[in-house]
């Protein structure tokens, strides 16, 4: 017995090493399971406020760009609004569920962002206090950005599209063929469109948008343009399509968060019928 104890004492450094490594690997696994609760991340108040201080300084230098983008978008929205305004003499019509607006929008500032890892996240300066909930979609005027993962009082953390564990339901605009968009972890300006069968005619330059089949994004948000179409080498029944992202992830300052007000209903319907819900 004594010798066992002596032996254990002699290898105590190694035992501690094994224990600490185990702890670290457990943290990696727990954090990366898409549905798992994350205990430690930058939606933590202390970390969030430090990152915000840093963003305050860095983003000062890109204010001009941010302003131009906002003005452009305002102009476009004003123009659309003019066309939508109801003429005073038109008859009021009740709208049914196909036309009803199910989405609520909020704006938020990006205080931290990464694009060099294979699991990238954004930290946003808006949290539960402002009505942000996990599962909300994130986009900006250029295209989609990601989906909210977890929320604290003032901050929230979102999966970036540049995160290999995020799948987004998408379709090719011209042919209405749908598939899933996923990043392969290699190039920060390109993503893959998966599960498009081989008989589909997809060509370079086609626009890819969100399909609206999932409960996170509405239909028609821009994702990007097809830059390469090949037959999938691993499974020749499918095409492997590369999309050039329309969003410039290296210059994210402000984003919009979108909430589907009927998310709960759709989600519980999916659960009821045992369908996996793809985000």
């Amino acid at each position: 017995m004594l010798r066992i104890l002596q032996f254990l004492y002699r290898v105590r450094a190694f035992l501690l090493f094994a224990f600490l490594e185990f702890l670290a690997i457990w943290m990696i696994v727990a954090n990366n399971s898409p549905q798992g609760a994350a205990f430690f991340n930058s939606s933590n108040e202390l970390v969030g406020s430090a990152l915000k201080k840093q963003a305050d300084v860095v983003q000062f230098f890109s204010l001009a760009d941010a302003n131009t983008a906002l003005v452009d978008e305002n102009a476009r929205l004003k123009q659309e609004l003019l066309g939508l305004q109801v003429k005073p003499d038109s008859m009021p019509l009740a709208i049914d569920s196909t036309l009803q607006a199910n989405f609520e929008l909020k704006g938020a500032r990006v205080v931290a962002n990464s694009l060099r890892f294979s699991q990238n996240y954004l930290t946003l300066y808006k949290g539960a206090k402002d009505g942000i909930k996990p599962g909300m979609g994130v986009f900006n005027s250029q295209g989609i950005v990601g989906r909210v993962k977890s929320v604290s009082e003032n901050y929230s953390v979102a999966f970036s599209v540049l995160n290999t564990s995020l799948l987004i339901s998408a379709k090719i605009k011209s042919s209405e063929v749908f598939g899933s968009v996923q990043w392969d972890g290699v190039n920060a300006s390109e993503v893959q469109l998966l599960y498009v069968p081989r008989h589909v005619k997809a060509s370079k330059g086609d626009t890819v948008i969100t399909s609206g089949f999932n409960a996170v994004f509405p239909e028609g948000l821009l994702i990007g343009q097809i830059s390469k179409v090949e037959v999938n080498k691993k499974d020749p029944n499918y095409l492997s399509i590369t999309i050039k992202l329309s969003t410039d992830f290296s210059k994210l300052n402000y984003v919009y968060l979108i909430e589907n007000t009927q998310f709960q209903e759709i989600d519980s319907l999916y659960r009821q019928s045992d369908l996996p819900n793809e985000y």
Binding site: L16, F40, Q119
Partner: protein
């Protein structure tokens, strides 16, 4: 290690940690080479600091970094491995008769050639562990290998630069 040294080492580690978090967070040369400058704080700790406290220190440092970088567990795992290997490697790579116990293995104390042969393998192992954890299940091993190699080279250059610019010869640390 006396109190005075303890303070100066803590100061160096704090500054390097801040630089890492505030400036090196999104920096990657050619999207490939990352700078893990904060490892310099662990590299220059003298061999009188034993494996166990070193490992605990590395674990905590890696964890703090992970919280800021949204890479939970990855820096922690790599830094713990780094700290576990450091004393062994320092013993193996030292000249016959070993380093002076109290001597700190910094560039100005042990010279460029010995510093590179001491620091580079450790930095490479760290980068390798980090990128394997990062790219688990995605990407090829070749990508991981080249990323690790260039990150180790870049980090090594950064550590040399910092030591040449900011460290004093006499006491090691200003």
């Amino acid at each position: 290690m006396n109190i005075r040294n303890l303070f100066s080492y803590s100061f160096v580690i704090l500054i390097l940690g801040l630089v890492q978090i505030l400036f090196l967070k999104n920096l990657a040369l050619f999207g490939h080479a990352f700078g893990f400058l904060y490892l310099l704080g662990l590299l220059i700790l003298p061999n009188t600091l034993r494996t166990i406290p070193l490992m605990l220190l590395a674990f905590v440092l890696g964890f703090i970094l992970d919280v800021f970088f949204e890479t939970i567990g990855m820096h922690t795992a790599a830094a713990t491995l780094f700290a576990f290997l450091k004393p062994f490697w320092l013993k193996t790579a030292s000249p016959t008769g070993g380093f002076d116990e109290a001597e700190e293995p910094s560039l100005l104390q042990i010279g460029l050639g010995r510093y590179v042969s001491y620091a580079f393998p450790l930095l490479f192992v760290y980068s390798l562990a980090f990128f394997i954890a990062d790219q688990w299940g995605t990407g090829g091993f070749l990508g991981v290998l080249s990323k690790s190699f260039f990150s180790a080279v870049f980090t090594l250059l950064l550590t040399i630069l910092v030591q040449v610019l900011f460290f004093r010869r006499k006491r090691g640390i200003s």
